[in-house]
Amino acid sequence: MAVIDLANPTRFLSLVNRVLPWLALATLIVFVVGLYRAMGAPDDYQQGATVKIMFLHVPAAWLGMLGWALMSVAALGTLVWRHPLADVAGKAAAPIGAAFTFICLVTGSLWGRPTWGTYWVWDARLTSVLVLLLLYLGVLALYWTAEDPGRGSRAAAVLTLVGAVNLPIIKFSVDWWNTLHQPASILRMGGSAIDPSILAPLLIMAAAFTLLFFTLLLAAMRNEILRRRVRTMRLMQAREMPA
């Protein structure tokens, strides 16, 4: 079965039904391994055990940005390549990405209180991630206020592409501006600056979060396809009713 066959919603649904249980199982296993390694990681010499919030905060941040990147690709699929399932993917990814961004902000805020002394500060990184959350909420508003799913998705696709300019701003904000948030320490010139004993659990947790994202995404896409089918059947039924 070629990838192009997945454009057929029925084939896609049958694939999801086969794959989803295994994906969920894999997510669970990697989460267990990741959390075990995270608990076993050494404490920070300055922050003590609070550094372990990082194992939730950083992957959530990465997934929040991955969500928008995926939505941007889906937006291109909707507008440029007219892939039938692209708008389903974009609509399904939006709430999940928004949730991860929200988790990132909340865990970061809870981490900031003991270490920086404040729950919130208006530095470049925090502000741009907050703007990302607002953009997510805007796209969700577009998806949910459109009566016609197709038209709403096209409008949301345009907004997604416009908002994609925020992603490089978030990534490089800590380098361009002098901020309270820590500068880049993993994906930077000169290699990672984190000790392997902490980097390894972090990457395992990131993998777990990514698997969770895709599990939820496939399930949400299945729900959206079924939802649209129900809507179509209702419309057909209404059309056949006596005037």
């Binding site: 507008l79 703007v131 607002l134 577009l142 206020t145 096209r154 409008a155 345009v158 907004l159 908002g163």
Partner: protein, 222 residues
């Protein structure tokens, strides 16, 4: 070219006539700025401190509320369909409409800013610089708002949806506009860098806005 000029003149003429709403934006700006001393108290030093920020916020909100007018009336009477099926590229058409909109909505905001600055005890010597930042920044607000207006006319949902879509995109304009204004009035930081970034944002939105708005109209109204 004459098509675009004719379109601009048409929009400007419609805006200044009865029901056009051209000066409503300026009136709303006035009302918002008058509300602020009621809310924060009449302490003149405090008002002077937050004056540039209040002027910028008022200009932002006034621009936002006027954006409805950009496409809604044309959509209702069918002119928008004519514009979309015309030989002139849709990107240029919406850019012309946005320029006309800025001339009738954004420019009055800049003109009455000194009067409002007086009410907020903003230092009059630096008022010229503040007007310059508004002059450079209000086009960015109009062209970014153009995107939101195109998205919400396609969905026929006005009101707050437009604000929710547009406001996050205008945050950089607000940040640099206020930074430039405060640099001119008080700050140790120089006026130049913030102002040039503000101009850059306006120029960038002048390009990106029409393309995104045309795409939104095409895909939303097909």
């Amino acid at each position: 070219m004459t098509t675009l000029v004719a379109l601009m003149l048409r929009d400007m003429r419609l805006a200044v006539r009865v029901g056009g709403g051209a000066l409503m934006g300026a009136l709303f700006f006035l009302i918002v700025v008058v509300m602020v001393p009621f809310a924060v108290g009449p302490d003149l030093k405090l008002l002077a401190r937050i004056g540039p920020a209040i002027l910028w916020l008022g200009a932002l909100l006034a621009s936002l509320l006027a954006l409805d007018r950009l496409f809604a009336t044309d959509y209702e009477d069918g002119s928008l369909d004519l514009m979309m099926s015309a030989p002139t590229p849709l990107e240029l058409t919406v850019a012309a409409k946005a320029i006309a909109h800025w001339l009738t909505t954004g420019l009055p905001l800049v003109v009455i800013a000194p009067l409002l600055g007086l009410m907020l005890n903003v230092e009059m010597g630096s008022m010229g610089w503040l007007m310059l930042t508004l002059l450079a920044g209000t086009p960015a607000l109009t062209f970014i708002g153009l995107i939101g207006a195109a998205l919400s006319v396609a969905l026929r949902r006005g009101g707050l949806l437009l604000a929710v879509l547009v406001l996050p995109l205008t945050i950089p304009v607000l940040i640099f506009g206020v930074a430039a204004a405060e640099a001119a009035i008080a700050g140790p930081t120089p006026f130049g860098p913030a102002f040039t970034i503000l101009c850059a944002l306006s120029l960038a939105s002048f390009v990106i806005g029409p393309f995104a708005a045309a795409a939104a109209l095409r895909y939303g109204l097909e």
